[in-house]
């Protein structure tokens, strides 16, 4: 595919804000130090950035053109070349990655940010659904995820105990992640003793509501080698989307993840670690299966989306965490995954290498 023939591009800097349940700072205010840190870690100057792409959602903050305010954290004077996607920052990374392949600039900034705390996600998210049948029903992400988990349980693809084990492992892994929100050691039997939140999901199967932001700096091969001691190479990047209506597909599978993984080259060599946006515990099983990640692959050492879920940044955070596993953790090959829509409707997969 085109992705494997593309010019070499590397991640040279990354930074994240903590994941807050309710941030006191505004989005541009908390993005400000994040973007500055990513630039500093990349060893470049702000003016070296040739292209900027942001991912955010005005519905979350409840402010039209909120994404324009976020540019104040980037510095847009003298005028810069920039773009925005109403999507997770991982898709901003995709646009920046495509933009660098034009060859006329050598450094790009991608960032994602969101504050979910001011609004009610269960009321906002149905607005992205089919407006005739599902929006009026108030089909919120938790309800749709519960239908997905129910289908998996009914088909024997997972058990409630295995879901709790995924949640417990994620929270335990997150204790080492200074940006995480839900951390600690939890007993699986104790988790299973909880009442259902939305059957068959218990609270531990759900992601937290989070505010936060993530920034990534990428560069062409020549520039990356010049400024960075350990560039993290993006060997493949692909995203695929499925039908909007969740009733039209098998929710226990994810063809789009499988295709994106194949096109990104996940199976071409051994994977050491994967950072997956499994916002609900059972989704980790679907993603592992579709990406062909066996028991020897470390999954979500950061704790993943179950530990910190800043909407519009959580997917890009998977790239930051996967890159960190290589640049700081000595791993050789990592997979990063981001998702959008309901019940894994759209999926983006990247393969990163030392």
């Amino acid at each position: 595919m085109a992705s494997t023939a593309a010019p070499e591009i590397a991640i040279i800097g990354y930074a994240q804000s903590p994941s807050w349940r309710e941030a006191e700072l505004t989005e541009p205010q908390f993005l400000f130090p994040v973007i500055s840190e990513a630039i500093e870690r990349a060893g470049i100057e702000r003016r070296d950035i040739g292209f900027t792409c942001a991912g955010s959602c005005d519905y979350l903050s409840g402010q039209t053109f909120a994404f324009v305010m976020n540019l104040e954290a980037v510095g847009a004077w003298p005028p810069i070349m920039e773009s925005h996607v109403e999507m997770d920052g991982a898709w901003a990374l995709y646009e920046a990655w495509v933009r660098l392949q034009h060859g006329d600039i050598d450094i790009a900034l991608a960032f994602g940010s969101g504050k979910s705390s001011p609004g009610a996600p269960a009321e906002i998210y149905p607005l992205q659904m089919d407006p005739y049948t599902l929006t009026p029903l108030g089909a919120d992400p938790v309800s749709i995820a519960a239908l997905q988990a129910r289908a998996m349980l009914d088909q024997g693809k997972i058990t409630e105990r295995e879901m709790a084990e995924i949640a417990a492992r994620s929270r335990a892994s997150a204790t080492g992640n200074p940006f995480a929100q839900v951390t600690g050691d939890f007993d699986v039997d104790a988790l299973l003793a909880d009442d259902y939140h939305t059957a068959p999901l218990r609270r531990h199967d759900l992601p937290p509501i989070s505010d936060g932001g993530t920034a990534l700096i990428i560069a062409t091969a020549a520039k990356a080698k010049e400024v960075c001691e350990r560039p993290v190479w993006i060997r493949g990047l692909d995203h695929r989307i499925e039908l909007h209506q969740p009733g039209f597909r098998d929710l226990t599978e994810s063809q789009s993840t499988r295709l994106a993984g194949q096109n990104a080259g996940v199976g071409d060599a051994k994977v050491d670690v994967a950072e997956l946006t499994a916002s609900f515990s059972h989704q980790e099983r679907i993603l592992r299966t579709e990406l062909g990640l066996g028991d020897d692959v470390e999954i979500n050492p950061s704790g993943g989306a179950l530990a910190a879920n800043p909407m519009m940044a959580v997917g890009l955070s998977r790239f930051a965490e996967a890159a960190r596993q290589i640049a700081e953790g000595g791993k050789h090959r990592a997979v990063a995954h981001a998702t959008s829509g309901q019940a894994l409707q759209q999926n983006l997969v990247g393969v990163l290498e030392a």
């Binding site: 941030a23 500055s36 409840g62 609004g119 009321e123 929006t135």
Partner: protein, 201 residues
């Protein structure tokens, strides 16, 4: 579509009697009203809290960028031009008078929720030293057709007991609503319009 036409279109909708009209006929097009309501509640960030507290005292405050000298009102906690953070140490008390740099006369359309009935002006004001600018301000004691670029104005504060900052949010950059009732002409000679039209901040 006029209000009456909209009402007529509404009336043409088929009755909800469970009988499907034949496909392709005009009556087969069914409209559906869907009313949505989203409520947002957010913490007010520290610099805006401080700005609100100053309004209750009858003061406008801003941050003066230590590098370029531009004044931001209310303070943002950073200068987006120089991309540096600003702090309480950069706080300045702003002037109560300034000059209109541009304006818009709004002719209200009576959509749902519109409370205005007569044309009104919203103006941007470049404040006197140490500077700073406020946008979307109300003018009072001045007919709409006399509002002009270069006009000198001063703040009309609400009496202390009546000041209310409950409408000030993180997103209301430049608003002094609830504390400053509006800006009235000072009667001083105008500043030449071409000197202020380019004022961005």
């Amino acid at each position: 579509m006029s209000k009456d036409a909209a009402a007529d279109a509404h009336a043409e909708r088929p009755p909800a009697d469970g009988v499907s009209p034949s496909a392709g006929s005009e009556a087969s097009v069914v409209g559906m009203d869907y009313f949505m309501h989203l409520e947002y509640r957010e913490l007010i960030c520290p610099v805006v809290r401080r700005y609100s507290a100053a309004l209750l005292e009858g003061r406008l405050i801003g941050h003066k960028c230590p590098k370029c000298g531009l004044v931001y009102a209310p303070p943002r906690g950073y200068c987006p031009i120089d991309v540096i953070e600003t702090t309480d140490a950069d706080e300045v008390t702003l002037a109560n008078a300034g000059v209109v740099t541009n304006f818009t006369v709004v002719t209200p359309v009576q959509y749902y929720g519109q409370e205005e009935t007569e044309p009104f002006a919203k103006v941007s004001i470049q404040l006197d030293e140490p500077g700073g600018s406020l946008s979307l301000q109300d003018v009072i004691d001045c007919p709409v057709d006399e509002v002009r670029v270069g006009m000198r104005v001063e703040a009309v504060w609400a009496p202390k007991k009546e000041r209310d900052v409950s409408e000030i949010t993180n997103r209301s950059w430049g608003s002094a609503e609830g504390s400053i009732r509006g800006w009235k002409p000072t009667g001083e000679p105008d500043v030449p319009a071409d000197q202020v039209m380019q004022a961005g901040f």
